[in-house]
């Protein structure tokens, strides 16, 4: 439970900072502060790991009510449907191929380092 308390506290901190005028989304601020706290050792990994893993593993569950909500806004979507769908598909392909291709070129040689690290563990 401590894990959830810490995570929600950081979310709250993010909301507070956003309201004070920091122009980044509150969830991004919460995420940045939380990561920083982990890096600085203010929050220990074992305190939050189980709660965080649970939340992330089952994120799909949290999207279900939003998906069901799409049925209430069909007319708005239909008006701009073609443009939005085209934009969605084009941009999805562009991101997938840019990121995948670049990562393929740049990240390959780290496999060896990671395997070595795992065997040390």
């Amino acid at each position: 439970m401590l894990g959830f308390v810490i995570i929600v506290a950081f979310e709250f901190l993010g909301i507070g900072l956003h309201h004070l005028g920091v122009p980044l989304p509150s969830s991004v601020l919460g995420l940045l502060l939380f990561t920083l706290a982990l890096v600085l050792g203010l929050v220990r990994l074992e305190w939050v790991e189980r709660a965080a893993t649970l939340l992330i593993r089952h994120m799909t569950l949290l999207f279900i009510p939003l998906m069901a909500g799409l049925t209430t806004m069909t007319s708005e979507l239909r008006r701009n449907g073609v443009a939005l769908l085209a934009s969605l598909v084009a941009s999805l392909l562009a991101v997938l191929l840019t990121t995948g291709g670049l990562a393929h070129l740049l990240l390959r040689d780290d496999e060896i380092a990671e395997i070595a690290e795992i065997s040390v563990e």
């Binding site: 959830f4 995570i7 950081f10 979310e11 122009p23 980044l24 989304p25 509150s26 969830s27 991004v28 919460g30 995420l31 982990l38 890096v39 990994l45 939050v48 709660a51 965080a52 893993t53 939340l55 992330i56 593993r57 994120m59 799909t60 569950l61 949290l62 999207f63 279900i64 009510p65 939003l66 998906m67 069901a68 909500g69 799409l70 049925t71 979507l77 701009n80 443009a83 939005l84 934009s87 969605l88 084009a90 941009s91 999805l92 562009a94 991101v95 997938l96 191929l97 990121t99 995948g100 291709g101 990562a103 393929h104 740049l106 990240l107 390959r108 780290d110 496999e111 380092a113 990671e114």
Partner: protein, 239 residues
Amino acid sequence: MIHSSLHPLAQPALYILITLVVYALSLRLHNRYSWLHPLLSASIVLVFLLRTLHISYASYNRGGAVLIYLLGPATVALGVPMFKQGIKLKRALPRLSLVVLAGSIVGMATAGCVARLCGASHQMVMSALPKSVTTPIAVEVSRSLHGDPAVTAAMVLLTGLLGSVLGPALLRLARVHHDHAVGAAIGASSHAIGTASLFRYSEVQGSVSSLAMAMAGIITSALAMLLTLYWRVRGAGGL
């Protein structure tokens, strides 16, 4: 109807319970039919249930909102895979951020340009820009760009769904096989929905994907912030 005779406090609990049962069933289905994305089957079954039981979305959402709220903490929780993978991939971290930065810029530019070329209104173009990042971030970015957060949420969901169903196959076609590259591409393009489906096959792909989606969220909101600052400096309200 059963649900309307229930005590008002029991209704959200009932709707959360229904959602949980539908989710558990959809995971079972996904184990048997791996092509059937659990988010898709769960949403179809849920909408069907709500329709046949004559439950309006507004009353369902008294329970649904609790689950939607948890997306906020879930986004903050991404700090854990960021931290863990950050240590593991220390050497590659600058390169990975470069890759995600390039992906995010290309993604926003393509989304905006294609929407504009297809005749979408300015507000719709703005709503399309943050569609590759996770919902809580995308909705806030959309609001800051004066887009329509509901349209953005719809695009985010459809992008995530499409990306997690087609993404891995497309990457295989493009001969991108390495776990880190697949994780980075799915995380940057299909955020939490793609990441969750990667975790079911590979721990490494899922972890890199969560790192990439967190990076994409941060980068996209920073880019949106720069965009609004630029407009403010130019004194113009639009493109």
